[in-house]
């Protein structure tokens, strides 16, 4: 086959026309998951910064039902506003005042303002500080800046409180979003008696019943997971267990623009969300076991015509009561429930 240079060049130009002149690619749309936080800026010109950041949610469920957020009635979204009015009317109660807090559920577009804590150069110390007389420094510990934000110009705080603050390109704020599930709690009171009346100590264990079982979502500057109480905790004079179980849903960060003079959070700050929970949850409370009665120790003697029996019984009764109280505490104090994904 004879191919002239003109035919070759025509074929080459046609091939160039058929080949792509531009390629583009679109990633798959993200799939929303339960508890996903949707940050939004709410403009309020009267506030410093011109408004505040808040978060609404892709509804997550606990035991099949959405948690609520306590919101001022005036801020409730339209559906929740109408529902609350209807419920109050049905219960023949007065309409809520504008600032009265009402339950708004996650599926009703409830939102919670973010209460920020500072991380980095302008943060407050997180623990105790130690002084060194030789060097004249006072060293404190601070919450570490996540590496992700270090790379974006957030500087760690200067640990020496007497030195000047560290220079930073950007400021960082954070808060934690927490799910709270009420449950029965445990309380105990140790009373000290006068030895002359035959009593030394008495334990009075009882239960703290929550007002309702409604799970609620809150935003706090810093969430600290409660450590399970130990037996020593129960034996302090008065112990009260918090009657709720908590789980950290997400940590929200706000990163300032570079080189802002004033670290007031505005709409120009960038919000980052670190989700900790991606699934709906079941919550299993502990079952309060039936009380086990200890066999009571008794001792009868014919000595002194049985007069000693009264004294011995009184002494043993104290022993019996205290042993029973300790057993009750041992059995009933572990009331923390458990969350699990479904």
């Amino acid at each position: 086959m004879f191919f002239s240079y003109r035919q070759h060049n025509a074929a080459a130009e046609k091939a160039a026309r058929l080949l792509p002149i531009r390629t583009s690619y679109a990633e798959a749309p993200s799939r929303p998951h339960p508890w996903q936080i949707l940050p939004q800026w709410i403009a309020q010109p009267a506030r410093p910064g011109g408004g505040y950041w808040a978060g609404s949610f892709v509804p997550g469920l606990v035991n099949g039902q959405p948690p609520a957020i306590r919101m001022p009635f005036v801020d409730a979204p339209a559906d929740a506003f109408a529902r609350v009015l209807k419920e109050r009317e049905a219960a023949k109660r007065a309409k809520p005042k504008p600032e009265e807090r009402v339950d708004v559920f996650l599926d009703e577009a409830a939102f919670v303002p973010f209460p920020w804590r500072a991380i980095g150069s302008d943060a407050a110390p997180t623990g105790s500080a130690t002084g060194n007389a030789d060097t004249g420094s006072i060293v404190a510990s601070f919450e570490p800046v996540p590496e992700f934000f270090q790379r974006r110009g957030v500087t760690s705080a200067n640990r020496n409180l007497l030195a000047s603050a560290a220079q930073t390109q950007r400021y960082l704020r954070a808060c934690d979003i927490v799910l709270n599930q009420p449950r029965v709690g445990f309380s105990n009171e140790i009373t000290v008696g006068a030895v002359v009346d035959g009593s030394i100590l008495a334990a009075n264990p009882s239960f703290v019943t929550p007002l309702d079982q409604q799970p609620r979502v809150t935003a706090v500057p810093k969430f600290v997971q409660a450590t399970p109480p130990t037996l020593n905790d129960f034996l302090v004079q008065r112990f009260t267990d918090a009657p709720l179980d908590q789980v950290l849903l997400a940590t929200v960060y706000a990163l300032s623009p570079a080189l802002v003079p004033d670290p007031v959070v505005t709409s120009a700050w960038t919000i980052f969300v670190r989700q900790h929970v991606h699934w709906n949850l079941s919550h299993a409370g502990q079952r309060i076991r039936p009380r086990t009665e200890l066999p009571r120790i008794t001792f009868f003697t014919p000595l002194a015509g049985g007069v000693a029996n009264l004294i011995i019984a009184q002494v043993l009764a104290e022993n019996n009561d205290f042993s029973q109280a300790l057993l009750d505490m041992y059995q009933q104090t572990r009331l923390a429930g458990m969350f699990y994904a479904v």
């Binding site: 091939a15 026309r17 080949l19 679109a26 798959a28 099949g64 009703e108 709906n280 409370g285 079952r287």
Partner: protein, 198 residues
């Protein structure tokens, strides 16, 4: 696509080497084979190629969906390896999918909102699983609301409720995203039912 000048042949030049260069260049420009994720637009200046990544298709077991205003369906899913049954709007108790994989006729929702679609699991006195029926319940009708463990009211008939989806304002929010396992047991003589993802 701009054409590199060295691919063109000049008068008097041998064509075959230029032709081979052109073929190698065309081969090097090949991107992908086309399918329904690749959109190609022909223009006078060449092709525009656009690729779209599709999300992985996930079928949620026991997916509850609204059908019209007062009806609903439940997609295929298993509890202890068994298909639940459901009462259709005509009152017939059927499997949520038949042996040919055909979905059930829609079932009726209770009036009033909010409402839950739950799997009601019934156990025999020896705690063997007896029935699994999809029913609708109001939130306050759920056994032991607020805990995943249920204590049945009756010792002779152990019943548990597994929430599948919640509906307040005309759309369902799916609760369970997996097939499920369920079991009943006695604790200090009290029957209890617990479920977990399979």
């Amino acid at each position: 696509m701009p054409l590199p000048a060295e691919l063109l042949a000049r008068p008097g030049e041998e064509i075959r080497p230029a032709y081979d260069r052109l073929l190698r260049w065309i081969e090097a420009q090949r991107l992908v084979s086309t399918d329904d994720r690749i959109a190609i637009t022909q223009t006078a200046n060449g092709q525009l190629v656009h690729g779209t990544e599709r999300p992985p298709s996930i079928v949620t077991p026991l997916l509850v969906s609204q059908s019209g205003k007062d009806l609903f369906r439940v997609g295929e899913g298993y509890i202890n390896g068994r298909l639940p049954v459901i009462k259709t709007k005509k009152g017939k108790l059927v499997s949520i999918v038949d042996e040919d994989g055909v979905p059930h006729e829609p079932a009726s929702l209770l009036a009033g909102r909010p409402i839950l679609v739950v799997a009601e699991v019934t156990f025999k006195p020896d705690l063997a699983l007896d029935k699994i029926e999809i029913v609708t319940k109001k939130p306050d009708e759920l056994l032991r609301t607020g805990t995943a463990n249920y204590a049945s009211a009756s010792v002779s008939q152990v019943i548990g409720h597994i929430p599948l989806a919640f509906n307040r304002a005309g759309r369902f929010i799916q609760f369970t995203l997996h097939n499920l396992q369920v079991r009943a047991y006695r604790e200090a003589g009290v029957p209890r039912v617990i479920y977990w993802p399979a």
